[in-house]
């Protein structure tokens, strides 16, 4: 059969230079008539539907959402769907920026239409095949539960019976899509399809992969950013199967990981010099603060005359804010099984960055993309960190050193935490001119810190705009006229990496903590002030109204040392508002209650939207209150969960969530819960104490 590309996606990606042939995974049993209808769907004769999802499952629930969408549009029971992430990146699996990646909270909003279209194509030809066979009008037939049925119920045939004849038919480019009425799965809190495997230890994560003949690798990586191995004494690892130099360190290969790890720790390595050998967080913070004082910096957004309006204004509010580097600290550390033999490279890993890994492996092996296979497992958390390919390169180089046997390289927690790829540290100076009614006449936001976009080849920094640094601020909703956003760049030794919500994570804090200061300066209630400024944005108002009502915003709090704070941030095309209640215990904020409302448009799985909101609150509280990465002598101080203390269960606040739908287009869900949390906590601390805390984390020594 000919393969029909999803036309819209194909057109959307036209202009992307790289065209890779679509990889059709092999049909598992040769004599079967399994039919690959399009890049996304294959139907097996045993009634199983294989859904090739371009998105990795890292806990965000996208696989369940994709299964719901396909089950409804195709007309099958969700239990018949198996999900497979394609082994080779290809155009139909790439996002709008030309990369196959599981990022940007794109999982549902980018793929719902291609998956509906693909499912409708398959449904249409299955129906057509039955119509021809039965000599009836296709319009009298429909699908349900893996069957084509006539509307009078008189005739029926399973998809399996129709596969052979349906596969002879041409797929329609514009099949009729089912409406959202009467759907069985979409819009329902369908249980996650991966839950059973996650209850008995059978779910396979990258770190769990076991292949015949496999060896194990442990790493020893540079304690200083930018240093390479100068000399290794190989005699300290004489029992190793191999000792392999890799970028930034070495891999020791042995029969068991524990043995390899002991040898890696004992290696006698002399490290080369690094330009960053003396760098500390204090130096970097000083450099960033100095950048705030620079008279000018390259502008990312400029409208009207912010500087002039600020000079002329009678009421200017100004405040500086700072956030630290953050580690991802996903529970599953970095790991990969690699194999390089017979001109072919295979990796088994928990990755969210398929094209990044592909490129890294092409460079490391010299093989073409067509010889590289990426077998995606479940991800034990990722949060942006597992976009990168360094461990894949290590595993493949290690395999090469042991005659092509597969090698599983596992990083220790300390390696994971100390090797960079951090959410960037950043400083901001916020200045605004208020008019007498409290509205914002002019705003100047100066950022000083790294520009993460420099580390990404697929997006360029154009006209001063870096999408990895300027989200939320570029289109802040508070100042229409006289707006200036500029960025003094300070380069930093560690690599920086998208961290859940990327720059929205820090920019949401800067903007909403400052908004609270503006409301206070205007003498207005924080919610009332926001309502007034956001009056022409119905979705913003809807989520604000929800949290005001459900938090009993104006009701008395249990004690004088309590406070309530609010924040609202639009990110990833969703609006999230949060009200946080804190109790101050000896100057330490304890978060007691969080009320959250999200408008993400149609919620494909409200149960999973809630799960992501619960998770974002808990995940965000660690960095809001106490987590940070600090540098000393060119390396990272923290190494494990004892000094990078993410939240524990007793600290979980009471959580109330409402999903509101104002009819907006589908937005992201995995990330938008994060940005409003830290500012809402900081604003609650102000409400409780009258003191502004403008530096995250808010209670670093707890």
């Amino acid at each position: 059969m000919t393969l029909e590309l999803n036309r819209r996606r194909f057109l959307a990606s036209a202009g992307v230079a790289l065209v890779v042939p679509i990889a059709i995974p092999h049909v598992s049993f040769a004599q079967s008539v399994a039919t690959q209808f399009n890049p996304y769907l294959r139907l097996e004769p045993d009634g199983i539907v294989t859904l090739f999802s371009p998105v990795s499952e890292m806990g965000q629930g996208t696989h369940t959402g994709h299964a719901q969408i396909v089950a409804d549009e195709l007309g099958v029971d969700i239990s018949t769907i198996r999900i497979s992430v394609p082994e080779q990146p290809a155009e139909p699996y790439r996002l709008i920026f030309g990369q196959m990646r599981s990022v940007g909270s794109f999982g549902i909003r980018s793929w719902i239409e291609p998956l509906r279209l693909a499912s409708a194509q398959a449904r249409t030809v299955l129906i057509e095949a039955a119509a021809q066979d039965w000599g009836v009008d296709a319009a009298t037939l429909d699908t349900e539960n893996g069957l084509v049925r006539s509307s009078d119920g008189a005739r029926g045939a399973s998809f399996a019976e129709l596969l052979a004849s349906a596969s002879e038919l041409r797929l329609p480019n514009a099949p009729t899509l089912r409406g959202f009425e009467g759907r069985r799965y979409v819009g329902e809190a369908v249980p996650r399809i991966d839950t059973p495997q996650k209850l008995d230890g059978s779910a396979v994560f990258g770190i769990d992969v076991r292949l015949p003949d496999m060896l194990f690798g442990a790493v020893r990586l540079s304690p200083t950013f930018g240093a390479e191995v100068a000399r290794i004494d190989p005699s300290t690892a004489s029992d190793a199967r191999a000792l392999v130099e890799v970028p930034g360190g070495a891999v020791v290969v042995a029969d068991r990981w524990w043995t390899a790890k002991q040898m890696a720790d004992g290696l006698d390595i002399e490290w080369g010099s690094s330009p960053h050998a003396n760098v500390s967080s204090a130096d970097l913070t000083a450099a960033m603060r100095a950048g705030l004082d620079q008279p000018e910096a390259p502008a990312a957004a400029s409208r009207g005359d912010a500087t002039g309006a600020l000079e002329a204004s009678a009421q200017v509010v100004e405040a500086d804010y700072e956030v630290p580097f953050l580690a991802h600290a996903a529970l599953e550390p970095i790991a990969c099984v690699g194999q390089l033999r017979d001109g072919r490279c295979d990796v088994w890993m928990s990755t969210q960055g398929h094209d990044v890994v592909r490129v890294a492996l092409e460079e490391a092996t010299g093989l073409p993309a067509s010889a590289i296979y990426i077998h995606t497992t479940f991800l034990g958390g990722a949060f942006g960190r597992k976009t990168h390919g360094e461990v894949a390169v290590e595993a493949v180089l290690a395999s090469k050193a042991v005659e092509g046997r597969p090698v599983k390289v596992v990083w220790a927690r300390e390696d994971d935490m100390r090797q960079g790829q951090y959410r960037p540290a950043m400083t901001a100076r916020m200045r605004a001119a208020l008019s007498t009614d409290g509205s914002v006449e002019a705003m100047h936001i100066r950022l000083s810190g790294p520009m993460m976009g420099r580390e990404y080849s697929h997006i360029t920094i154009e006209d001063g705009v870096d999408f990895f640094s300027h989200a939320v601020l570029l289109d802040q909703p508070y100042c229409e006229t006289n707006f200036l956003l500029d960025h003094h760049e300070v380069t930093v030794p560690p690599s920086t990496c998208p961290w859940r919500a990327v720059s929205s994570s820090q920019n949401g804090f800067f903007l909403e903590a400052f908004a609270d200061e503006l409301a206070a300066a205007a003498g207005q209630d924080p919610i009332e002030w926001r309502r007034a400024q956001l009056a022409d944005r119905p979705s913003h108002i809807a989520v604000l109204d929800s949290v005001a009502r459900r938090s009993n915003w104006s009701s008395p709090l249990p004690g004088p040392n309590w406070g309530r704070g609010v924040a609202i941030v639009e990110s990833y095309n969703s609006r999230v508002a949060q009200v946080v209640e804190v109790e101050m215990l000896d100057d330490i904020p304890v978060v007691r209650r969080v009320t959250l409302a999200i408008d993400c448009g149609e919620a494909i799985n409200p149960g999973q939207v809630r799960a992501q909101m619960e998770g974002s609150i808990i995940d965000g509280l660690g960095p809001a209150l106490r987590c940070q990465i600090t540098l000393q002598n060119g390396g990272t101080v923290q190494g494990n969960y004892d000094d990078y203390p993410i939240l524990r269960i007793p600290e979980t606040p009471e959580i109330d969530i409402e999903i509101v739908n104002t009819g907006a287009p589908i937005g992201g869900v995995g990330e938008p819960g994060i940005p409003p949390l830290a500012p809402a906590v900081a604003n609650a601390v102000f409400a409780a104490t009258g003191q502004r805390r403008r530096v995250l984390p808010l209670a670093p020594d707890t």
């Binding site: 890292m58 839950t195 230890g201 996903a330 991800l379 958390g381 995940d619």
Partner: protein
């Protein structure tokens, strides 16, 4: 000398360095990967197993100390996910990424064995040693309470 113990009801013998942490013996020698590595220093709970019924981090327990012990891992909980804790976990749909969940479930099993009707404080006291970066704590709390009900109904 080989170390002999009982793993999920089956006698096993291991002839490895007795200083090897049980975590790595389970994962690499016995090929039971349900027990997870998260920190290696008894901080995250991802590796928690039952040794003679006592909840123990496998990452800091050397196999040399296990002669004659009864070790239970997530794989030995039930053949069909029918343990009340597994049932409750499924009903509440607890896991996100799932990586911490073997440890969470083993901790809940140990908690309920000691305290069939746990209060929130009882739950905190045992579960605070299990980290979840995905933030499934509210569902874990709800699922433990549900598991207590299921156990009592049986």
């Amino acid at each position: 000398m080989a170390i002999a113990f009982v793993l999920n009801g089956t006698p096993v013998e291991l002839d490895i360095d007795p200083d090897t942490p049980l975590l790595w013996a389970l994962r690499d020698d016995l090929e039971l990967t349900g027990t997870k590595y998260g920190c290696g220093i008894a901080q995250c709970g991802a590796c928690r197993v039952l040794i003679d019924g006592v909840l123990t981090p496998a990452c800091v327990t050397n196999v040399g100390s296990l002669e004659g012990a009864f070790v239970q891992t997530i794989e030995g909980l039930s053949p069909d996910r029918s343990h009340p804790v597994q049932q409750a976990w499924a009903e509440i749909d607890v896991p996100q990424c799932g990586y911490c969940q073997s440890g969470q479930i083993m901790s809940a099993v140990a908690l309920l064995a000691e305290t069939p009707n746990p209060t929130d404080d009882d739950i905190d006291a045992v579960m605070e040693r299990n980290l979840c970066r995905c933030g499934t704590y509210p569902r874990i709390r709800a699922a433990i309470k549900r598991a207590a009900q299921i156990s009592q109904a049986q």
